[in-house]
Symmetry: C2
Subunit: 456 residues, 2 copies
């Protein structure tokens, strides 16, 4: 037999039991909050038609879509000339592709099922996506996204609910100090109008987005490179430099630019969301209006969100916003939606850094039964059966191996209790019950053992 | 904008909320039993190196593996001659592929992580797999597999545990009458020796596997076509025709063929598994020794299992067995394992046909709050917040839409209770509380409503 040294593709990961249990804890927490807020699950296929994905993520994104080779003789209908250019050959030999995000498949789903969907449609979706990005620390070619969206309503109650939901998820996960930044694309559009650069929102957003990285001077330099005049920038400065708390900043904006309708609509939306949050008795002061929050994706048209933890250095752990025309490209115009996406890999790293994963329940087996010989194992099976009838997660070490080996198995699996059965125990019916945490060992009947475990 | 009519690739499926909730119920049930028996979760990437998968599923399987086109200029290193043959071109332009099953990636995982794994390793894995099969009723190109395996021990306790686990999963899912068929590959090998066709196990297994479909005469015809002589078949007949219950059949085999070591080892293994099941106080009489159970996959070497429901017409809903050398191809010989795989799509169809899905909890939202105008919605938010503090899953209809529309939303989502807030309710603080199941409507304070819901 030809022996291979196996490996996995770069940028992909195996998740062993320890990581899986911690990841599931994050997913389950998010899922339970999504459900509490009335969101329903959907799943879409990993494989989409390439035409559905192409052109939705910009030129750069198109390159990063993993394409799937047609099955069978994929060359059958290709002419020799096709082989001159891999770009034009691709759609001929690869008609399918891997999901690149959850948003475009969701838009497709909404359009294809619009007659059955009960609008406003609140859906959540937790599935992996694939990107042929260059792998690096914290950036993978296969990773999970974790999205919740409401489509089919313009109501700003949805934005307020999303803020509540972010709060509840992160608090449940044990994060204590985080900031939910909110801004509104209409305010950014208004600013371009005010400073005399109408139409240059993308350049403005892209530059402002880098404020954290390149600083104030860097932003100005980049704007100048993008054709912003000294006059434009002079008008921009007092806006970016606006200080005070959220309501002070909003009031100053209204005062300074009372005549700009677009900006004032954006400000009014932020104020309405804050009012709804008052109604929801939102107790947190985590929410912060941030004029410099831009978010790159160009499809946002209203509120935008981004969340950062203040407890450790880490990029945004959650982000989203409102979009007005997501389904238009698939033939369903005027469907407004608002959504949020949790960055599970980053949240994982934050919880690990801060040591906030729960210490209990990281293994599901409560008891291991160990036997010295075949007769002990056979007797052990009847104990095993009784434990499980009492809904206690239990297993038996399947061989009469050396006790040291069996104990090391229990340790490795972080099993709390071990029941040891030797010939003496067989005769007396009193089993050795060992607490693996403190090493304490006592002789008990099986009834006493079950009672002890259930009283923990 | 270029408007597309979107579609999904044939053989793939979208799962809307109703299906997702039913599927999650099946997955959660299986997962909870796996955990109760001490199995731990792992996940492997959807994308594997093509070399890891190639040659593991036979020639037919190789064709059905979905290959992923290399990113960037995949033609850069191809010569014009490569384009004459798509088969030899494939591994050059597609170095990665989609997971075809969970077993080969698991074997790869075990080999790559053998120094960290705590053997015997009990793992479960619930993930989708992809096959470029021709789609037809009940056969998909993307579907979930749901596997549990123990590797690193020869102990037949594992086989007994798997039988218990199958029983517990299917009983929990509400199935009442099913048969777990068991056989042993060593018995089938022994039979080939006895009838004088040593080495022809595959042909024997493949033919016997079709007994249900092509009947007794069909099997004989196929064996003759595969070079089985009249003499071979004459010796085979009394074996296949063996009748009686499980222990009668086992005893007859031992009586008739006491000199064949291979067959007797297989019989002894089946008997030992039955003895362990006695120890486990297995109450079911679902287990049936079936000499004609063969299972196609050639890597099985010991016990083999297959499960059928007797309540409706459906193929095998679960199957598995023991294999002795799964990891050998990756350089780790002598690692024995035994596993089981649940066919979730078929189980779904069975539960749907028999109407066994639970009727409650199919939607997670318990209460919908409806308001007649903006002021009512604002008040509704405070009620919403109180409900959620009491851990009641609740949502608010985000617009002051017509009441009929709001009620139809609640109906569509199968929400049990609706709280209606109009101007009268605002003044009095007594809200209209409607039971959507029986249409009953009463006026209650928010405290009374919460008390009612919690007492349900």
């Amino acid at each position: 037999m030809n022996i291979q040294k196996p490996s996995i593709p770069k940028g992909t990961r195996d998740f062993g039991p320890d990581k899986m249990i911690r990841r599931s804890y994050i997913f389950d927490t998010i899922r339970s909050v999504f459900q509490k807020y009335g969101f329903l699950p959907i799943e879409t296929p990993a494989i989409e038609n390439l035409a559905v994905l192409s052109g939705k993520y910009g030129d750069e994104g198109d390159k990063l879509i993993f394409k799937i080779l047609n099955s069978g003789d994929f060359l059958a209908e290709s002419t020799p000339e096709s082989f001159n250019n891999y770009k034009s050959l691709t759609p001929k030999i690869a008609e399918k592709a891997l999901r690149y995000d959850l948003t475009v498949p969701f838009a497709r789903y909404v359009v294809m099922n619009r007659n059955e969907i009960n609008f406003p449609f609140k859906r959540y979706q937790i599935q992996p996506v694939w990107r042929a990005d260059r792998p690096q620390k914290g950036r993978y070619r296969e990773f999970y996204q974790c999205d919740a969206d409401v489509v089919g309503t313009n109501s700003l109650i949805c934005e307020a609910e999303i803020v509540m939901m972010i709060n509840e998820v992160l608090t449940k996960l044990g994060l204590k100090d985080f900031t939910i930044k909110i801004n509104n694309r209409k305010i950014l559009t208004g600013i371009t109008e005010i400073i005399g650069k109408k139409g240059a929102e993308t350049q403005l957003c892209v530059a402002i987005d880098k404020l954290d990285k390149i600083g104030f001077d860097g932003v100005i330099k980049e704007l100048k490179e993008n054709d912003f005049s000294d006059g434009n920038i002079e008008k921009l400065l007092p806006i970016i430099n606006l200080n005070g708390n959220t309501s002070e900043k909003l009031n100053k904006l209204k005062e300074l630019y009372s005549t700009n309708t677009t900006l004032n609509t954006g400000v009014a939306e932020v104020e309405q969301i804050l009012k709804y949050l008052d109604g929801l008795k939102s107790e947190n002061n985590n929410l912060e209006f941030d004029l410099t929050l831009a978010r790159g994706l160009s499809y946002y048209t209203g509120a935008i969100f981004e969340v950062k933890t203040n407890e450790t250095e880490m990029g945004s752990i959650c982000g989203g916003g409102r979009y007005d025309n997501l389904t238009g490209v698939f033939g369903l115009p005027d469907t407004s939606g608002v959504g949020i996406s949790f960055g599970v890999d980053r949240i994982y790293d934050v919880l690990e850094t801060l040591d906030r994963f729960p210490t209990s329940n990281l293994n599901s087996t409560k008891v291991l039964i160990c036997g010295f010989d075949e007769a002990c194992l056979q007797y052990g099976l009847s104990i095993l059966s009784r434990l499980r009838k009492e809904s206690i997660n239990a297993e038996i070490y399947p061989d009469a191996a050396k006790m040291k080996k069996q104990m090391s198995y229990a340790d490795g699996k972080k099993i709390a209790y071990v029941i040891i059965i030797g010939s003496e125990e067989l005769l007396s019916g009193k089993l050795t019950f060992k607490n693996m945490l403190n090493g304490e060992q006592v002789r008990l009947t099986s009834d006493e053992i079950i009672a002890r475990i259930k009283n923990q």
